[in-house]
């Protein structure tokens, strides 16, 4: 078996890795954006909830949270599929980080622009959708790429709940062939390629929507 063959076999698991990553990123974005929107309400109870949420989900290790959802919840009668457990875990954790990224970017939106929008007669939601959110996303690009990279790097945990992604394929192959060095080197190469593709995609997006004078921070 050549190194090329190893790469091809492992690439079959790459589909699951990409799928888990994309689904987790989507979940993380939904959670992060919701939390960031909630943070604009400035209600005490909401602020407390956000503080507790970000504190808890940034401090619990991903693997522990995954095990709570997949192995723990069935104890109280809630069964979640491996895929949903993994996506929910990464969505909850990356959502906590992304909420902070979005909040920072929202704070960088010029208050005068918001005042001008108010003075023009736009309501709170229109101001968020047409003024704050487009600027927030642009300024969040570096933070989002960091977070998406972290999500990708956490996907190997999916093998612990039985998702046949790259790592699970690699472990099975290593057990059969005893060629661990080449196999895990191939895993590293595949992850690097996936990472590179993701970054290229986001950089292309960033370039497409880049606005002079509104640099990402």
């Amino acid at each position: 078996m050549t190194f090329g063959n190893i790469l091809i076999i492992l690439a079959e698991g790459a589909g699951y890795t990409v799928l888990v990553t994309l689904a987790s990123i989507s979940a993380g974005l939904a959670v992060g954006l919701s939390l960031a929107v909630l943070s604009t309400l400035r209600w005490k109870a909401v602020s407390l909830f956000l503080a507790v949420y970000t504190y808890v989900f940034r401090s619990i290790p991903v693997l522990v949270l995954l095990f709570i959802l997949f192995f723990g919840l069935p104890g109280i009668g809630i069964r979640i599929s491996p895929f949903v457990s993994m996506v929910a875990t990464l969505g909850l954790v990356s959502g906590a980080y992304l909420a902070e990224v979005f909040r920072g970017a929202m704070a960088a939106v010029d208050g005068d622009e918001i005042l001008a929008a108010e003075a023009a007669g736009l309501n709170r939601w229109e101001i968020f959708f047409y003024i704050i959110m487009p600027q927030m996303f642009r300024m969040s690009v570096p933070g989002m790429i960091n977070e998406f990279t972290s999500v990708l790097k956490y996907t190997p945990f999916a093998y612990t709940v039985g998702i046949p992604e790259i790592m699970k394929e690699a472990m099975s192959l290593a057990a059969l062939t005893l060629r661990g060095l080449e196999i895990y080197l191939a895993v590293g190469i595949l992850y690097f390629l996936i990472y590179k593709l993701f970054v290229m995609f986001f950089m292309t997006l960033e370039k497409r929507f880049r606005v002079p004078g509104l640099a990402s921070k």
Binding site: D110, D112, E113, L115, A116, A117, E118, A119, A120, G121, L122, N123, E126, Y130, I131, P134, Q135, R138, V211, P212, G213, L214
Partner: protein, 245 residues
């Protein structure tokens, strides 16, 4: 009937009264300038008038309707009052044209093509048409302020409020903006402008309201207020601002 009638308007922040019973009137086609020392309440007055700041007491009658009463449609009132800010406040992620069309599409519910046509017409009016595709960061200060004026004017407001429109600009750019506002003045656009700039005040006003410590001290034409006014506060203020030019 006055377009705007302000009766005993007061505004206090944390117990400190900034506006103390302001009375003023602005008729359709009229242009007035509010002047006074820093901190006298000029900008607060402007912001109270379009309800960006809720007045503490008093009444504001706009187009015959008391807009300080509960239940008034604040968004509708604001959409009918153009507001130009000192630091332009253009939306940085939008081009000049998009800055102008946003309100037309979202508030006036115009179709995109109709909004672009309207924006082009207004941009042409102030010599900004060639900058329609530029972002705010690609414009000079004078161009930014002209774009901000167009953004406000495109909504066909009943009145245009200008809050220190030239104070963030160097003299050359300031002149560029004064020319545009003067043109609006000559076209009888109803305006209420807050400024420190006597040059601007003189060329865009039917009368000047002098505010001191939250009170209207005088209202008169520029020539009578600027030179040797009987009130020492007014005389001192205009001597200092005119001498410094």
């Amino acid at each position: 009937m006055a377009l705007i009638e302000v009766k005993d308007l007061a505004k206090a922040f944390d117990g400190k009264t900034v506006l103390k019973g302001i009375n003023l009137e602005l008729s359709e086609g009229q242009s007035k300038v509010v002047m006074g020392t820093s901190g006298c309440g000029k900008s607060t007055l402007l912001r109270c008038l379009n309800l960006l700041l809720p007045p503490t007491s008093g009444r504001i009658i706009f187009k015959g309707e008391d807009i300080t009463r509960p239940g008034v449609d604040i968004r509708k009132v604001r959409a009918d009052i153009g507001f130009v800010f000192q630091h332009f406040a253009l939306y940085r992620h939008l081009t000049v044209e998009e800055n102008v069309t946003l309100g037309l599409r979202k508030l006036k519910k115009m179709k995109a093509t109709e909004a672009v046509q309207k924006a082009s017409h207004e941009l042409e009016r102030v010599g900004m048409i060639e900058h329609r595709g530029k972002y705010p960061a690609q414009l000079s200060g004078g161009q930014k302020q002209r774009a901000a004026i167009v953004r406000a004017l495109a909504m066909d407001p009943a009145v245009l409020f200008l809050d220190e429109p030239t104070s963030a600009l160097d003299p050359e750019m300031s002149r560029e903006v004064v020319t545009v506002i003067n043109k609006l003045f000559l076209e009888n656009v109803t305006m209420l402008c807050v400024t420190h700039d006597p040059f601007l005040a003189k060329y865009i006003s039917d009368s000047i309201i002098f505010l001191d410590e939250g009170v209207v001290v005088a209202e008169d034409i520029a020539e009578r207020l600027f030179y040797n006014h009987a009130d020492p506060r007014i005389k001192h203020f205009f001597m200092s601002v005119i001498d410094h030019r």
